[in-house]
Each structure stands twice: as C-alpha cells, then as structure tokens.
C-alpha cells in the first residue's frame, strides 16, 4: 500500500511538475515624476532604413505606457533562482532591422548562444561594450550569416553600432532564465517558481535597480510592484 502511494507521488512529480512548482510572481513597473520625452531619430543618412519606418522612430531609452507604466525593465530573480547553471539549449536572437535593435533589451543566460542577425540592406557593426565579459566588435554586411557569440559572466552590456550612432540596445546576461522584460503596460510575469525565498531585481537602463524579497510557499501568485523615480532629462 505504502509503495503504491509512493509510486503515485513519484508519478505526480514526473507528470505534473507544473502543478507542483506553480508559484508565480507578477506585477507592474511604474514610475513617479516626469520622464524625458522620447527623442526622434533622424535616419536620413541611411535611406534604406528610413524608408522602413512609416512613422518617425524615437529613442527607446525610456518607454512608457498609460498610468505611468514603465516598459523595457528587466525583472529577474537575482537570489535563489533554482536554475542557476542550467544553460538553455536554444539560442536567443538579436535582430538588426530598420537600423534598430529588436528587442531593445535582450535577456540571456550566461553561456547561452546569442545570434545576431542583420536583416537590413546596409552594413552594421555590432559593438557590445562589455566590461566584465570579453569585449568584441564585429562588422556584419547585409546578407551575411548570423554572428554567434556567448557571454560567461553576469552583466548588463550596452550595445551600439559603430556605423549608425543612434542604434542602441542592451544585453542582460543573467544566471537565470527566470526573467521577464516589462511590456509597454509595465506588466511582467515570472512563472514556474518552486517554493522558496527569492530576491527579485528590476533593472532599468537609466533609472537603476530596485529589489524586492518574496517568499513562495506553494501554488500561488504573488504580486510585486516596482516604482522608479523618473528624471526629466
């Protein structure tokens, strides 16, 4: 009888890990104060890119939404993440299109493969300004295969293009895949968390970082909200 129960429990563990590790942290990132207005980007020197945009392109340093929502904030588990060292086998893709970086902030696990794709009709020169990781700087003419790279250490790396000064993005290299980037409505969600104590960190490229501690006890959803102080300039 006991063996049967044990077996059943084991089966449960095997089949429904989702049910067991169903803790979720979700919430919203907002700002207080007046953020700087997004500035228009003049791409007239690169007509092949300029014609890809029907509406004027603006800077993505501060992306806001209705009700003081703050986008492009990286929210991740900085302490207690259960998957440290588990490098996802699939690659993440950083696209260059219309002389912009898509996405503006790309998250990846340390050691995870990063693919940089040029989908423009012009040459790009991708230059992530890494400080703790090894810095590299590669030219990528149109039609060339993706560049494959990876980073060994945790770091937020600003990325620029050596040909188009307005192009700007970030790599968030983390020791976990429990990460989300807040959308334009400020929302984020970190699902599939086993019970435990976690420190959640929210990082914004101009407003810095905020942290919050959270304890997951079982199958529950914890609300965690972050608020940043916006700067007008």
């Amino acid at each position: 009888m006991r063996t049967k129960q044990m077996l059943a429990a084991l089966l449960m563990l095997l089949i429904c890990p989702g049910l067991m590790f169903a803790g979720t942290v979700s919430g919203k990132v907002t700002y207080t104060g007046t953020p700087a207005k997004p500035k228009p980007i003049d791409m007239s020197k690169e007509p092949s890119c300029a014609k890809e945009h029907a509406t004027p392109v603006t800077t993505e340093t501060v992306v806001t939404g209705a009700n003081n929502a703050l986008g492009n904030v990286v929210v991740y588990i900085s302490t207690g993440a259960p998957d440290e060292g588990q490098v996802p086998p699939q690659a993440v893709t950083f696209e260059q299109k219309g002389c912009q970086y898509i996405p503006h902030v790309l998250t990846m696990h340390t050691g995870q493969e990063l693919k940089v794709v040029n989908n423009d009709q012009t040459s790009h020169n991708i230059h992530p300004l890494a400080k703790t990781n090894r810095e590299w700087n590669k030219s990528q003419p149109p039609g060339t295969p993706p560049i494959s790279e990876k980073y060994d250490k945790e770091e937020f790396i600003p990325v620029k293009c050596n040909v188009h000064p307005w192009m700007h993005g970030y790599f968030a290299v983390l020791k976990t895949s429990h990460v989300d980037v807040s959308k334009d409505d400020g929302g984020f969600k970190l699902p599939n968390l086993p019970p435990g104590k976690y420190t959640i960190t929210a990082w914004h490229e101009s407003y810095g970082t905020k942290t919050a501690d959270v304890t997951i006890t079982g199958n529950e959803t914890k609300d965690v909200n972050f608020s940043f102080t916006a700067k007008p300039y």
Partner: protein, 266 residues
C-alpha cells in the same frame, strides 16, 4: 615606327582634352555667394594646366617625329646652352606658373577663410563622429549649452554631450541630423569632432573643410538656392567612412522657421 608613336601621342593628348574643353564633367551648380570665385579659379587652373599639358605632349611628339630613325654615328644635337640652361628655363617657367596661380588663387580662398563672418550670421554647430554628422541650433535663448564629452550618450540622442539637468542654456538647444539653413542668410558653421579627423564637404557650396579633433574650426557661407544637397565626409575616418553623410536642406526663411520649430517641438 617612331612617327606612328608621335601621332598616337598627339591623338591621346587631344582626346583626353576633349571632355575637359567640352565641360563633360563640370562641377554641379554653384549655390553659394562665394562659389563663383572658386569656379573661376578652377577654370583658370584648368586652362593653364591644360595648355601646358597639350604643349608638352605636342612638343614631345614633334621631337619624336623629327628625330626618329637616327642612324648610329650621327651627331647628337643638344639644347642651346646645354642641360644647365634647360633646367633653369624649366624652373623659371613652372615656378612662375605655380606662383601666379597661387597669388591669383589666394583671393578666392581668403575671401572664404580669412574674412570674418557677418555680425548677423546664424551660428550652427556641427559635431562629426564615426560615422555621422549632427547639427545644433542655439534655440530661442540664442545660447549654446556647454559640451561635456563624458555626457555624450548617442543611444539617447545626446551627441553633443549636453547637460540639460544642470545647464539652462542647453535645454532649448535644437539637435538635428540634417543641416537646415535659410536661403540667402549667412551661416557660420562651427566644426567640432568627437573622435577623429572628418571633413565637411558640400560640392554645391564649394566648401570642403576638415574637422580636426581638439580644434574648434569655423567656416561661413551663404546658400542661394533652396534644395537638398549631400554633405559627405571626405577625410578617411574609419570603417564606416563610405557611409558618413548628411543632407543640407536650404529653405526659405518661412520654411526654415517652421522646420526649426518642428525640430525643437520634438
């Protein structure tokens, strides 16, 4: 054989002169107030150099025609006065030619580079960096904010390193990737380089001036015809040099005011 060579030489000289005499590859239309003097100077130089070139080729052809097929044992003819005289004659001739071009030409050059800009000239600052040009207008207060190299943040469109947080003058500065200027108004363009040497070149303006890192240089001009003209970098500045360009947009005063307002409202 020598005679055929002499004729071929003369033919090549004539053929290469045709496109220049017929003005096949003339400069684009001049849209500046000072450009005509430079065009005149270029023309004079071309006439002078072209005449010398043709004369030299024809004389060379003539000599080949005349003295080809010399038999061994014939006496060599020499230039009157010997080699020394020849060298002195050539030096005087070429020296006078170059000196004359320089003396006449400096007028066209000095009128642009040595004259001070008008008092009411509009000052625009440009920042050249790998691999784009950016332009800055002082805004309603007429004052440029200070430049702080450590504040340069290109991803956030702060190409000049302004500090609007602490510097009131910088707050209304208007930044543009296109050089918009009103027609028939003198513009005093300040040239500043962020990194290496670049060059500001607008063919139609007849202006080509280097940016030198560490130096604040200036050049002034008055554009006389509305339109869009290409500004290209003509100083090899790195990998993306071929792609370093911007546009000069010459507008009526009315359009310019509107354009500047649009740029500042953004």
């Amino acid at each position: 054989m020598g005679k055929i060579f002499a004729v071929t030489l003369a033919l090549i000289a004539i053929l290469s002169a045709v496109p220049i005499v017929m003005n096949y590859w003339g400069p684009p239309e001049d849209i500046s107030t000072h450009g005509h003097a430079i065009d005149e100077q270029m023309k004079d130089t071309m006439y002078e150099a072209g005449f010398s070139f043709l004369a030299a080729q024809f004389i060379l052809g003539l000599f080949i025609w005349q003295y080809t097929g010399r038999k061994t044992g014939d006496k060599l003819k020499t230039f009157p006065g010997g080699a020394k005289g020849l060298v002195i004659a050539a030096l005087v001739l070429v020296g006078t030619e170059i000196l004359a071009l320089g003396v006449i030409g400096q007028k066209a050059w000095a009128s642009v580079y040595f004259a001070a800009p008008d008092k009411d000239a509009m000052t625009i600052q440009s920042q050249a960096g790998q691999f784009a040009f950016y332009f800055r207008y002082a805004g309603p207060d007429g004052k440029f904010g200070g430049m702080h190299p450590d504040k340069i943040d290109e991803g956030n469109q702060n190409f000049f390193g302004l500090d609007p947080e602490n510097d009131v003058d910088a707050r209304d500065d208007v930044i543009s990737g296109e050089l918009g200027v009103p027609v028939n108004r003198q513009v005093n363009l300040l040239l500043h380089s962020k990194d290496v040497g670049h060059s500001f070149y607008v063919r139609e303006l007849r202006i080509q001036q280097d940016y030198v890192p560490g130096l604040d240089l200036a050049v002034h001009f008055t554009a006389t015809k509305p339109g869009r003209y290409e500004i290209v970098c003509t100083q090899l500045c790195g990998l993306g040099h071929y792609n370093m360009k911007a546009y000069l947009n010459v507008m009526s005063q009315e359009d310019f005011d509107k354009w500047l307002k649009e740029k500042s409202g953004q």
